[in-house]
Symmetry: C2
Subunit: 335 residues, 2 copies
Amino acid sequence: MSQKGTQSVQFDQAPYILSSASVVGKKEGEGPLGGLFDMVGADDLFGEDTWEAAESTLQKEAATLAIGKAGISKEEIRYIFGGDLLGQSIATTFGLMELNIPLFGLYGACSTAGESLSLAAMAVAAGFGDQVLAVTSSHFASAEKQFRFPLEYASQRPLSATWTVTGSGAFVLAKKRSKVRITGITTGKVVDFGIKDSMNMGAAMAPAACDTIYQNLIDFDRNPEDYDKIITGDLGYVGQEILIKLLREKGFDISKQHMDCGIEIYDRTTQDTHSGGSGCGCSAVTLSASLLPQLEKGTYRRILFVPTGALLSTTSFHEGQSVPGIAHGVVIEHA
Amino acid sequence: MSQKGTQSVQFDQAPYILSSASVVGKKEGEGPLGGLFDMVGADDLFGEDTWEAAESTLQKEAATLAIGKAGISKEEIRYIFGGDLLGQSIATTFGLMELNIPLFGLYGACSTAGESLSLAAMAVAAGFGDQVLAVTSSHFASAEKQFRFPLEYASQRPLSATWTVTGSGAFVLAKKRSKVRITGITTGKVVDFGIKDSMNMGAAMAPAACDTIYQNLIDFDRNPEDYDKIITGDLGYVGQEILIKLLREKGFDISKQHMDCGIEIYDRTTQDTHSGGSGCGCSAVTLSASLLPQLEKGTYRRILFVPTGALLSTTSFHEGQSVPGIAHGVVIEHA
């Protein structure tokens, strides 16, 4: 039986992460993780005419690189589980079209990175595919246009705002042995604390992260110490503080284990990114470039990776709706 | 082994459709299938203030009805696989939030109905959940606002245009025996024939439908006659003609078996719907209200259900991109 607790799965035959790739923009390349990414763009257009096409190119490059690193051909990938933040997921549509692989399109805002890994792991573990690709992306400029203001307005950003990462991370999951495997997942629910400030997504997502992490610990009967790191996607500095506080109220102290990809990816003092990085690409490229190598080496034995998403559109926001959150947990272990 | 051919899965332990529900708007209630739906709204606002909130209510009602018909509580649903057409899938977020069930958000345009059934079937077949819900929706007014023009403009619609169905269909898939089961799936690829007319989505989606149906017949080594019906989602009259022609060129004549939910749902002569109905809700409510009862009775022994999606956003469209299509095939049989 692979169902675990009320909201989790423990894989009897845990799928391996055979390879991964990260492609980022210029600013991410200049950040603390800059030297670790597979490819850093010279500008953020990646040779395209529009930000949306640039984001598609990010996905295509990350997917192609990951498949190449796995030493397989694209025909050997059975499914892609992919998504992005744009309306109707157009970065994914146009980015992955040429690969000509059956596609399950996903949307979970920035949690899509966790959602895609979860479903890809389920597909491989169940034998529906021997090799499956999970890929997500975000782009600062396409996201600002989609969710906030055209860049040309040069709007001032509040200190609680995050900076959408220009980047795409792709992962080949497979039956074939590697040094890292996904041993379990905890799938998140939509959690709404009534936050109405789209410039404070950390606060909107922290309750969802709390809910998923708490349920993961309960379902697997673990304590925070059973993980070397508990890593959220893009809560940033503001969300991190709230998450730790909320989990303390529920009886768990994760202050020693907690890490946030949005905090790791930029240098707060020199890069003017305020609360930190965000976006589907933020957690995906950090996992590929920084976390997986540590799991491969065994520096980390087991981590809980929890990409977090803020569920809003300009329409819902302008209609006065709140910004609910969702977070999907993925347990990744050294093998 | 459950993988079949290059793009399909045949379920060793085929999951059952335990129950389903359909909720539609006024116009759909006045159409040829009007008497079959579980619930028909008196107007299209369903007691809400906005079209988007109305669409959320459609999903919530359909999901709640389906769960009720299955004779289970919502706590017994392990996962929801859900989606809609709106940017950032807000109808789904706000519609399903109250259910408090782990959610995998999906986006495949109108093919999402097939995508959600496919993933839900995979989850149940693999033992990741004993009961899983698949739900999708669309709403004429929220879709017009999202993709075309505000209703207040009273824009004239070309004859190739389809009419987005106001409706939501929900399905409880389970291990527990019923009279209908999903025995296989064929997951679609993004197919682009370079159509640039967002008012002719039938033409944009027909090549994708052709690709998936063809691959299904090859993967399962079947002929069109092995299906009582081959039912596309929302090609409409324009797309139907193209699909039949394209498949003839590939050696299969489906003219006897083919049926399109977009053609079935409205009366062309009296309802002013031009090429037919469309939207995630179109195929979902037709399956629930009209097709499943025939499968339960055994009038149909086996059908191939192929929801079709046109992958565009206003941004991609305004940037001059084409409208690619995708179609996901689901084999449903009398049990």
